[in-house]
């Protein structure tokens, strides 16, 4: 029973008495003449969350979502409908609505068969049931105590734990029937430190495609508590960030959100097919300094952004986006790959059955260089050392991107100096990586906290990078 396709049948099809021939009929309905491709995406998702605040377990929530999305594609046209009722008549009505973009009343014929997948980037387990409820709330209580223990100035602590059991079954008009069971867990700690009139926040957390035991390994959860407290306390001491263009050293790991915003979105296939990305038509050109290699890799075991197969049933892969500074490839879903005459790259993702898939990132990171991070910091006379970030945003057409630091220090004469308040950094995507002048040997991936939004759809992603020295980034502080 540990095979995803059996779990999916058991979870989704069996309770409503759906059989394979019903799926064949749905695909037949969708595959009218003139339809190039069609798929049916079944999903059953269970989410449980707990919140500890003021030292007590205050809230818990359990959510069940299930349904099926029907898509019919003809050239550049897509018809889409979905149903949260999995009874066959409701599904058939959705299929008929979706395929209405093509004229004509006759049906196509599709016979699905199971696509074999031996991939196990994560176990097909149910993380909601991977720990007893009593143990979950006990874990949060320990995290809360650990954060408060750090310093009497830590006044508020909110910790949360989320576990998601997501089962998908994808039937495509090419006859492939594939399934994936996707566990996802997340723990977050957010604190407020107070010192006289000053208050600052700090937050930390992590997650993975794993059981909840993940947070108990190596004291991971307690590390998040200590890190959140450290950040808030550090920010209590922070003074005004500088304003202007300067050399910036970005720390390893989560600062890789730079890559996600500055180049990642601009290299998604849809924007490049349409020619609306600042990177459109630039394959083979230099877009980064020599030594810069950036990949999108959905195949890292257990990572938040990883998938055995994407939401169109395509196995994920390692896609080289930039190789030694040269633009090599885009991230594709099936529709955009077909229209651009290339192969899909396993980047077709959707928030749920109620959303259309589109090219999305998985885990996006820059490979390590050979510099000692200490040497990189020592090389800067005057600049900014930014090690933690909040979110970012990009305008893929103009190429302008921002990302906001939540922990940063001045660098003076090659040494890390006083902490400065969070500031937004702004730059130009096609140009910023050409200004990378040193690449550290300390590649790290983030702790598993990333969520990416595009056209109203959120999906979990990962980022990573080694320590980087970047020349001439604009830092949006208020200080001199």
């Amino acid at each position: 029973m540990s095979d995803p396709i059996h779990i999916a049948r058991d979870h989704i099809l069996a309770p409503v008495g759906l059989e394979e021939r019903d799926i064949d009929r749905l695909l037949g309905q969708l595959s009218a003449p003139g339809i190039d491709a069609a798929d049916v995406y079944f999903q059953s998702s269970r989410l449980q969350s707990w919140v500890l605040e003021d030292g007590i377990i205050k809230e818990g929530n359990f959510n069940i979502e299930q349904g099926a999305g029907m898509r019919a594609v003809s050239g550049e046209k897509t018809g889409f409908a979905y149903s949260d009722d999995l009874q066959f008549p409701a599904l058939l009505a959705a299929a008929q609505a979706a395929r209405a973009i093509a004229r004509g009343g006759s049906e196509g014929r599709v016979k699905v068969s199971e696509a074999l997948s031996l991939r196990r980037l994560y176990q097909p387990l149910n993380p909601v049931e991977s720990l007893s409820d009593a143990d979950k709330v006990a874990l949060l209580a320990r995290v809360d105590a650990e954060a408060r223990r750090q310093d009497p100035r830590i006044k508020q602590v909110i910790t949360s734990l989320v576990a998601v059991h997501d089962v998908v079954l994808i039937a495509a008009s090419d006859g492939r029937l594939s399934a994936d069971v996707r566990p996802l867990v997340r723990l977050n700690v957010s604190v407020i430190a107070e010192d006289g009139d000053r208050r600052e926040q700090g937050s930390s957390g992590g997650g993975a495609r794993d059981a909840l035991i993940y947070f108990l390994h190596e004291d991971r959860a307690l590390d998040f508590a200590r890190e959140a407290a450290r950040l808030a306390l550090t920010n209590l001491e922070a003074s005004e960030a500088p304003a202007g263009t300067m050399t910036v050293v970005l720390g390893p790991g989560w600062p890789g959100v730079l890559l996600h915003e500055a180049v990642g979105h601009g290299l998604e296939g849809d924007f490049n097919r349409k020619g609306t990305s600042a990177f459109a038509g630039r394959l083979g050109q230099r877009v980064a300094a020599p030594g810069v290699t950036v990949v999108d890799d959905g195949t890292l075991p257990g990572r938040r952004g990883s998938l055995n197969l994407d939401d169109e049933g395509t196995p994920t892969q390692t896609t080289v986006l930039i190789e030694d500074g040269i633009l090599r490839g885009y991230m594709q879903d099936k529709l955009n790959a077909r229209l651009m005459g290339v192969a899909p790259t396993g980047n077709g993702r959707r928030e749920s059955y109620a959303h259309l898939p589109m090219p999305r990132m998985t885990n996006t990171y820059m490979l390590a260089g050979d510099r000692d991070p200490q040497e990189i910091i020592a090389s800067v006379d005057k600049g900014l050392y930014a090690v933690n970030f909040g979110g970012g945003q990009v305008d893929i057409t103009s190429g302008k991107f921002v990302f906001s630091a939540s922990e940063a220090y001045l660098i003076e004469n090659g040494r890390i100096g006083r902490p400065v308040k969070g500031a937004t950094l702004i730059g130009n995507g096609p140009d910023v990586l050409t200004r990378v002048s040193m690449i550290g040997n300390d590649l790290a991936l983030d702790e598993g906290v990333g969520t990416c939004g595009k056209e109203g759809q959120s999906v979990p992603v990962g980022v990573g990078q080694p320590t980087l020295r970047v020349e001439g980034l604009t830092v949006g502080g208020t200080g001199a």
Partner: protein, 449 residues
Amino acid sequence: MTESAPDDTAERLARLEQIVADLLAEAKQRGATAAEAAASSDAGLEASVRLGEVETVEHTRNNGLGITVYFGNRKGSASTSDLSPAAVRDTVAAACTIATHTQEDPCAGLAPPERMAECIPDLDLYHPWGISVEDAIALAIECEDAARDADPRIVNSEGATVSTHAGIHVYGNSHGFVGGYPSSRHGLSCAVVGQEGESMQRDYWWSSARSPADLDPAAEVGRRAGERTVARLGARRLSTRQVPVLFAPQLAAGLLRSLTSAISGASLYRRASFLLDRLGERLFPEFVRIHEEPHLPRGLGSAPFDGDGVATAAKDLVSAGVLRTYLLDAYSACRLGMETTGNAGGVRNLRVQMGPLDRAGMLAALGTGLFVTELMGHGTNPVTGDYSRGAAGFWVDDGQLQYPVEEITIAGNLKEMYAGLLAVGNDYDFPGSTQTGSWLIERMTIAGE
């Protein structure tokens, strides 16, 4: 689903009311001392075109129900997209299981019974649009065509979308309160790409309304998207400096969101607000009045009762520059030792009293400085009010637009920005639940070249 079907609204409302009643009965059966439940159902159509051709046609249909049970001062919640009787039972059971692990919270519970909305005024929120797929596509094409025709430098398009959604929401609780009403929302939007030399820019415009009759003409929405896009071409950077800044009305609404978030109960009792203990104090100059009007007919933010079942009511958040109220739900009110303000779920239809100056007058008042028309990123710190965001807009000299600017940041602190608000224009120009003109802020730091 959007063809002119017979109106079965009353039937569907009754069905959702029955689901809410079933949820509450099931909770009582399982020993809950109190409970609250909600159910909703909506359907819609979104048609998108790009470069004159259909791109996507989406039929949307969303159902949901949720229950929160209280066992004394312990609570548990559960929700699902499945409205079947079996789902009702399973969902209540799941919420009750959760409640066996949560702990006593003296403030957990329903709002006081005497605060429940007594009558549900008809706010004229339901105007379903029986537009066919073909007509929606034609309208989207009209919108996009107008954008592409606005200027020869418009070379590409992200497309135009026509959307229509209509649904019903019902909330009830074990005080015996049940309230439900249908509502609709329709939209038109367009985004195009302009090019000049090597530089590409995109911009958009939209219209949104409860009734299709209140949508702006498609060609008008498209033309504005096109004009906004070409106005950005040839943008330059600025050097680092301190200048006065004029926020376009839709961005001023964002400064207002930072205010409403900072005076919301959840931020205050967590001490996660830059406006702690400021009730009754002056935040803005004396001319500033900010008013909430939740019963505005056809208002995009209108609602007859809040997320606790408490009647919503019009009030000043700020008058004569002074903060007059927090925005509280039942829980945060209890935590702060105050009374709910009927703001469970947020604030509904804000109105900032507009001043005498139109856009030209506001630019003249700005004199030499930055007119911001777009902001990027999340650089607002809700605890300290520190503000640092990516910006694009226009450099203004002597009240005249000089050239577009981009790839700069603007920074300050929201407390100082509010206190340094010099004028609010009467140039309100965007659809949404917040109505404000542009805001002229005395001084901010621009970081650039």
